[in-house]
């Protein structure tokens, strides 16, 4: 259908959707009210399991199965994107250009902040059950911290810090660790991904049962997945080029 017809159909559908939304709005509880039954239930559950960060407790303890599913989606997207970004049969991989002009201030800031960011990322992952954070957030911080090597230096510097095989194994290891945690729950008789370790003292590092372990596994998986994903885009932009015509049969 041509463009105008498409816009008319969309306008009709969007109008109906907007009417439905407003009708739903008028029946919702007021914004900022204190009627939150799910919040009351999960707060009590999280305090019983000694996890001060209720959001992490929901993600890794009370609704661990949903997190398992989301993590699988992440793994599948990374596999799909990496497959799509492979060099094709009519392309070859050249050595990427090594240098360009870089401000000394940028280079210094990048080199100084890279270890700081990695440590902050590890802290966010490990303290997921105590402070705002967790596996997902910390994993993204770790992955982008690694790419400060590209911002500060050159692409070959990043490639040295990033042997891609290790990150692919890391992604699989993270996923496998979550499955192993789930099976440990099954073996202990409590159910898949149940919290079977002792819950410890409220607020200490080793507490809340399996939540820190789950958080670390997710952190490894997300960090490795994001690094692998970005590597595909970098290679596609900097290294993959069309094969010269005489090479193709």
């Amino acid at each position: 259908m041509n463009r105008t017809a498409r816009l008319v159909v969309f306008a009709l559908g969007a109008g109906a959707l907007a009417v439905l939304f407003v009708a739903a709005l008028l029946k919702m509880p007021a914004f900022g009210a204190d009627v939150h039954p799910y919040r009351d239930a999960t707060m009590i559950a999280a305090l019983l399991r000694r996890a001060p960060n209720v959001v992490t407790s929901i993600n890794f303890d009370q609704r661990g199965l949903d997190t398992f599913g989301e993590e699988t989606i992440l793994l599948a997207s990374v596999v799909g994107a990496t497959t799509l970004l492979r060099p094709g049969s009519d392309e070859r991989r050249r050595t990427p250009p090594g240098d360009g002009r870089m401000l000394h201030a940028t280079r210094l800031a990048g080199y100084v902040l890279l270890p700081v960011t990695l440590i902050v990322g590890a802290d966010v992952v490990v303290h997921g059950h105590l402070t705002p954070g967790g596996g997902f957030q910390g994993g993204v911080v770790l992955a982008t911290g690694l790419h400060l090597a590209y911002v500060a230096g050159r692409y070959p510097a990043l490639r040295r810090l990033r042997p891609l095989d290790w990150y692919e194994y890391g992604e699989a290891t993270g996923m496998g660790a979550v499955v192993a945690l789930g099976i440990a729950g099954l073996v202990a008789g409590a159910g898949f991904l149940a919290n079977i370790l002792p819950t410890g003292i409220f607020g200490s590092l080793v507490s809340a049962g399996t939540v820190p372990l789950f958080s670390v596994a997710i952190g490894i998986e997300v960090a490795s997945g994001v690094v692998v994903l970005l590597a595909g885009f970098f290679e596609q932009d900097l290294a993959v080029r069309l094969r010269p015509k005489e090479d193709v049969a």
Binding site: A14, M28, D34, R39, P52, T131, G232
Partner: protein, 115 residues
């Protein structure tokens, strides 16, 4: 106030979908999908808000018993953000391959499915 708070989220969703429909560039389409997803996060977080409540993390400064906002919708939004980032990356990889195979990123010019 209710209408304004939820309305912002719903507006973002509708504008994102409108951008997808009207788009003349596949990269713009992918970014509009991302905008629509952001609208859903705003609606989720607005549902969970309570006036005068703090973040749902207990510690020495907010002992158990202080009113907190709803953590369930925050957990939903958090996993959703990370997953949608990788799905956006998958869509962009698709756009790169489309540009290579068909030479164009204008959706209206992409007609036939070539085998």
């Amino acid at each position: 106030m209710s209408l304004y708070a939820y309305g912002v989220g719903i507006w973002l969703v509708l504008v994102g979908i409108a951008g997808v429909v009207r788009s003349r560039d596949l990269i713009h389409t992918v970014v509009c999908v991302s905008v629509a997803q952001s609208g859903t996060y705003v609606v989720l977080l607005a549902v969970g808000y309570q006036r005068g409540a703090v973040a749902p993390i207990f510690g020495s400064s907010s002992p158990p018993g202080t009113p907190v906002v709803d953590p369930v919708v925050q957990a939903m939004a958090l996993t959703d953000i990370v997953v949608s980032a990788t799905v956006t990356a998958l869509l962009l990889a698709l756009v790169i391959q489309v540009a290579k195979r068909h030479g164009t990123v204008v959706p209206d010019e992409l007609h036939a499915l070539r085998g």
